[in-house]
């Protein structure tokens, strides 16, 4: 059935429903009325949602819901703010949903580069290499060389070879050869230090040297790595 209300009375009703986030009712009203909510009322709704003191995820949910029903895009500053909130979440899942449901040009991420780079820093620090590649795909913004190289270095310091390999594979950004050489020297120094003191420690540093060779695909310079001994039947 078509709703007969129109003009200022209908717009007033839209305003009320949008402000009170009665989305099911809003969807029904939009469907049954010939007149859609005015742009300024919808945009006012977005603005109010962002300013209200509710949880961040809830704000994003309201924005997505209103866009889906009213079909009017939020203003650029609102989109930017919503993107920044999504970038602060644990994973790019929410950002993906925001892009899909609100629909806006990816060039916006170039304008909020510092927020995107900050997210890369967090993901790299947490070893979330899958999320790093997902964020590249979603934003078209490449993580800065500095973030990636610091990530590689940190991983090697902590013997996180899986994270190292994952980041390299997912970003296609090679590690800095000088940093890798300096790590080889560090590992080798420790290997020599423990060689005659502790078999366990020296084996560990030797293993690190071999793993680094394997995953970095960079040959060590000025260091000879000893031949591998046969693996035991089980590791521990």
């Amino acid at each position: 059935m078509t709703n007969q209300a129109s003009g200022p009375a209908l717009q007033q009703k839209y305003k009320e429903i949008i402000n009170e986030k009665r989305f099911t009712e809003l969807a029904k009203l939009v469907e049954s009325s010939k007149e859609k909510p005015a742009d300024y009322i919808v945009r006012m709704g977005y603005k109010n949602y962002m300013e209200e003191p509710q949880g961040k995820k809830v704000k994003l949910f309201y924005i997505m819901k209103l866009k889906e029903i009213a079909g009017i895009n939020p203003e650029k500053n609102i989109i930017k703010e919503a993107c920044e909130i999504s970038l602060n979440m644990d994973s790019p899942e929410i950002l993906e949903a925001l892009i899909k449901r609100v629909g806006f040009d990816k060039s916006i991420f170039k304008e909020i580069q510092p927020a995107v780079q900050k997210t890369y820093t967090d993901y790299v620090a947490d070893g979330k290499f899958v999320d790093v590649s997902k964020l590249i795909e979603l934003t078209d913004v490449i993580p800065s060389e500095d973030i990636i190289q610091k990530g590689y270095e940190g991983y090697l310091e902590e013997a996180k070879f899986i994270s190292f390999a994952g980041l390299k594979k997912r970003t296609n950004i090679p590690p800095d050869p000088d940093m890798v050489q300096s790590m080889y020297r560090k590992y080798h120094f420790n290997y020599l230090k423990y060689k005659n003191l502790s078999t366990e420690q020296s084996t560990e540093w030797l293993e690190r040297l071999k793993k680094l060779m394997r995953i970095s695909k960079i040959e060590p310079q000025g260091i000879t790595i000893e031949e591998e001994e046969p693996l035991p039947e089980h590791d521990n």
């Binding site: 070893g127 996180k160 899986i162 994952g166 594979k169 995953i215 590791d235 521990n236």
Partner: protein, 297 residues
């Protein structure tokens, strides 16, 4: 041939020497509740012997995952609220987390929380699928989901070096975990997990779900295996797993749906089911956090 030899060695080693036994608290509890007339008092007395267990049960009981409505403050109320079957599942979860503490973590990238997050979410998603699709009730959905990757724990515990090699192969060659495991160990986590579940005397449906969650066509009890297969993929898609296991794929194309429809003889609204599972992500994350948090008694 070489792979077969590796497989024999690995299985022989695991079978003859090192397989852990099922946690006592769980076996005692299962035995007790197999009597349909058991009183809540007896159940409570058994659990009360383990105060850390009581604290964990109450925390989980009050998390969103178990549909908290009002705070449950004591074990007696928790038993009534959860029911014996859910309680049994919770006890198994807690006992497994305790059993595999990964105290001597040899791989700095290995995050035990990610493993448990994946196991518990798969179990929980299996349970939600059972309810959403109105499948005939079967406790094996939950336990199958919880244990589906238990073989990975054994690979990690007994072959940490190879575990790392497996993951590196997964990343560098972009292959699945079970493919890399077969390449390196000659056997995959599904087969190893199946052996452990057999040793622990779990139901055949559970063993099947563990063994064949990656190879549905070999499954003999397809319904539980199909549900575990979908829940496993969903959990990975939601990022509730090790970062290297997270894959970009379309969950709708999983063969599990087809098998599920054939076995249950029902039409399944795949989109709706995925939506229902998506809404539960946060509850699962919260419950895992509670489960892994240290307990002071």
């Amino acid at each position: 041939m070489a792979k077969d030899k590796d497989k024999d060695k690995v299985l022989d080693y695991l079978l003859k020497k090192q397989l852990p036994t099922l946690p006592t608290i769980f076996t005692e509890f299962s035995k007790l509740v197999s009597n349909p007339f058991v009183s809540n008092k007896k159940v409570s007395d058994l659990i009360m012997k383990d105060q850390a267990m009581v604290v964990k049960i109450l925390r989980l009981c009050n998390s969103a995952m178990y549909g908290k409505r009002q705070e449950i403050k004591n074990l007696t109320n928790a038993i009534t609220y959860l029911g014996l079957e859910t309680l049994k599942n919770i006890i198994l979860q807690i006992a497994l987390v305790r059993m595999f503490r990964f105290e001597h973590n040899k791989i700095p990238d290995f995050n035990p929380a990610a493993f448990w997050q994946h196991s518990i979410s798969t179990a929980y998603f299996s349970n939600i699928m059972e309810k959403t699709l109105k499948l005939r009730h079967n406790e094996n959905f939950y336990i199958g989901g919880l244990l589906h990757d238990i073989g990975k724990v054994l690979v990690y515990q007994f072959y940490p070096g190879k575990f790392e090699e497996i993951v590196l192969m997964q990343i560098e060659d972009e292959v699945h975990d079970y493919q890399a495991e077969t390449e390196i160990l000659g056997v995959d986590h599904a087969e190893i997990g199946g052996i452990l579940a057999e040793k622990w005397n779990f139901d055949k449906e559970i063993i099947d779900a563990i063994q064949y969650h990656h190879s549905l066509l070999k499954s003999r009890s397809s319904l539980v295996t199909a549900v575990v297969n979908i829940s496993n993929l969903f959990s990975k898609k939601a990022g509730l797993c090790f970062p290297w296991d997270e894959k970009s794929f379309d969950i709708k194309t999983s063969g599990g749906w087809q098998m599920l429809m054939e076995e249950s003889k029902m039409h399944i609204d795949v989109d709706h089911t995925i939506l229902v599972l998506t809404e539960e992500n946060e509850a699962v994350k919260e419950a895992v956090k509670e489960l892994l948090a240290p307990v002071k008694t």
